[in-house]
Symmetry: C2
Subunit: 488 residues, 2 copies
Amino acid sequence: MDSLEARHDLKNDSTRMLNPLDPEEFRRQGHMIIDFLADYYKSIEKYPVQSQVEPGYLSTRLPDSAPLEPEPIETIMQDVENHIIPGITHWQSPNYFAYFPASASIAGFLGEMVSTGFNVVGFNWVSSPAATELESIVMDWFGKMLQLPTSFLFLGGGGGVLQGTTCEAILCTLIAARDQVLNRVGRESIVKLVIYGSDQAHSALQKAAQIAGIKPENFRAIPTTKDNAFGLSPDLLESAILSDLVVGLIPLFLCATVGTTSSTTVDPVGLLSNVAKRYGVWVHIDAALAGSACICPEFRHFIDGIEGANSFSLNAHKWFFTNLDCCCLWVKDPNALIKALSTNPEYLRNKATESNQVVDYKDWQVQLSRRFRAMKLWLVLRSYGVVNLQNLIRSHVDMAKHFEGLVGMDKRFEVVVARNFAMVCFRVSPSAVGDCLKSCDEKIVNEFNRDLLVSINGTGRVYMTHGVLGGVYVIRFSVDDSSIASVS
Amino acid sequence: MDSLEARHDLKNDSTRMLNPLDPEEFRRQGHMIIDFLADYYKSIEKYPVQSQVEPGYLSTRLPDSAPLEPEPIETIMQDVENHIIPGITHWQSPNYFAYFPASASIAGFLGEMVSTGFNVVGFNWVSSPAATELESIVMDWFGKMLQLPTSFLFLGGGGGVLQGTTCEAILCTLIAARDQVLNRVGRESIVKLVIYGSDQAHSALQKAAQIAGIKPENFRAIPTTKDNAFGLSPDLLESAILSDLVVGLIPLFLCATVGTTSSTTVDPVGLLSNVAKRYGVWVHIDAALAGSACICPEFRHFIDGIEGANSFSLNAHKWFFTNLDCCCLWVKDPNALIKALSTNPEYLRNKATESNQVVDYKDWQVQLSRRFRAMKLWLVLRSYGVVNLQNLIRSHVDMAKHFEGLVGMDKRFEVVVARNFAMVCFRVSPSAVGDCLKSCDEKIVNEFNRDLLVSINGTGRVYMTHGVLGGVYVIRFSVDDSSIASVS
């Protein structure tokens, strides 16, 4: 019985057949898109940074059902130019300083192309060994660049995995921590588990807690203040833990942040871990944005004390030149993840898994199917090299420092919290707003800054977003790679 | 204060600077990778389909830390050829018939390129309106192609969202169902919630239940038998629900499968929904693999009764020509998802959200950050058109039918369960194994088939995987697009 025979039979019946992976058609269309994107990067500054469209704009421009017959790629790309580009906010524009840096790069893009081209599904080792092995190797490479304790690396009994986003990294570690405890004290105690973070922790923490079935009232967003630059206080953490213990609750999980979303504040990782450890609390360090900076020796101190944590994550798709999505998660105890997340259906049984000689990443994450993300990170690490990566990060910090200096020189503005990395939180100062008022109402100042930001973004020339810190509305100026691209 | 000024200052300090998105370098390297991939598709049959490497092969070939200095793309791609390709299993090979079809296509690849090139992060509408609006539009397009009830479409008050994988789709709908109930009966009842599926349901269901905090003993994998082709029996479902109610448990969630992993069995969607509805159970239809076929009128009956379900998902990255990853989820009540999954941090507040005129997909999924996946699906729908997509699917089914015929003509083999779509479950028949035994031991037959499969896959000429159905080891022959690519 020959499958070739089967295929040849079908060939004769193939007037209706097209080959969706025809190599020469792939080549022709692929080159076209490369040129389209190269031209896009070249002319990106001609577009308003923030999209200026109104809700519902696209449905008035596209048909309301899919075409019956094929359309040529040329027509489709014309529609991308005419209808899609006006509706996107240009995250890769040099004038983009909003949210967080989504620092794409040539290497990151190429890595995604190769991964998408192979289109292998590496859920376990055997389904595509290189996808798994390259991931383990680059995670150890990257861990060494960050000087992580060896206990977080495969070579030290821990290990790293690439997830999509920090939300998933937090969710998976939280599930691991949860099930460790529940397997000991009984499933009924799920309603007693308590999660801790500061009020500056990313919303991913709250969302992970919701998904994991933690009781909403057992989520502690511990207040921060300007006095300690909006960092989480170890004393307040300990008080919160003690209060919970007194009423019979079970402290479970702490998420400390290195580089908060609103102000890139760094929680004191070491001190917090010491407190958490005393009460058997799992410590996760969320360094989504700022973790990448720790490859530079001068910034490494921001994660000092990490040896006390159980898990650590950062987004290579934020400040590490790897196109979306690519979240790096390292854990000291992979078995905790595996126990909580593994399933072993018959159809995935194989000798390699049973030999215990391989990693099956499906058991380290929410999803079964997974893309070959390691390809992107590998290309980024090799195309730029450690020294250039450090220098790129330094150049962003230098630029933010320069901007901070300009703000400081202009009496109308003020920097609201100290800058740690490549983001500056500033505002029009109360004295400039209230030149006719001696004591200017904070609400009026906030309103003024909000309006200013809206009107700046409305010009399309630049795009920044906001935060609120201790009641103060701040404009966030977040530098990334593309900010510099246009000047080199 | 001019940010351009800041950048120009830095420019003078830029001996160490490189531009990670230099358009001309992007163009040069991008064209190179297109040619690399076109050549890969052209010569894909020269590689063994299943990778033949041993565990740990890659660490002996790569350095143990990242390079300090940049390496040229030419060197890196040579390493991809020499070290990565031997370690991947060629899911796009025409001789690949394993697991499930990961049917890549030119349009799917190009869509991923455009999405990766723009690298926008469309977590909410305002962060890139086109990403959200195109997604809503193509989900309505696709829903119409499947003749979904309008209650699943935006135009009928429901709506669709692109997730990464079915694991996420099931998890999100399960969380929505869970919180609807817990908000009514109290969080303490989480330990009483019960999940139902057949013993053929995908492991994603069990995993979602684990993550959602459902008590492991409250997960019902209802046995199936050969008599009803391994489909879930509505009577057994009802018995299970009644038994649970008697002991004070709360029936929560049913996952019915259209196209099971082991045998592409179709659970009777309508009858099961009728049972579930009577007890207030949320019904999710997992049509990960086979749902795509329902765009053909002759296969649409497989989801008859879907109007009784709450949610429905399929993977466009399986049998719909969209490169990994792209799971389509439709729900009747988006608010159930949103209530369970939304968070509203200050730094994401914006006027569009507050106007309630827009969709913010971050509240429909686990993750905050999300890729512009709609671009892929849009390109697939437009590049091929509905008619060609139907014909592609038909051609796969025809090929499986042909293979089934060949098996039937060969006395040594037998088809184990009736074929529904493009997968044939067969084995060497007991009479062929046990030609010297009158009543051949089933174990020996299983062993024989297992050994046969291992030795076939070991040749590298073809790759199939296995399942076990009612104790019978079967070889799964799963046809996809690339199976046909080489003959056209």
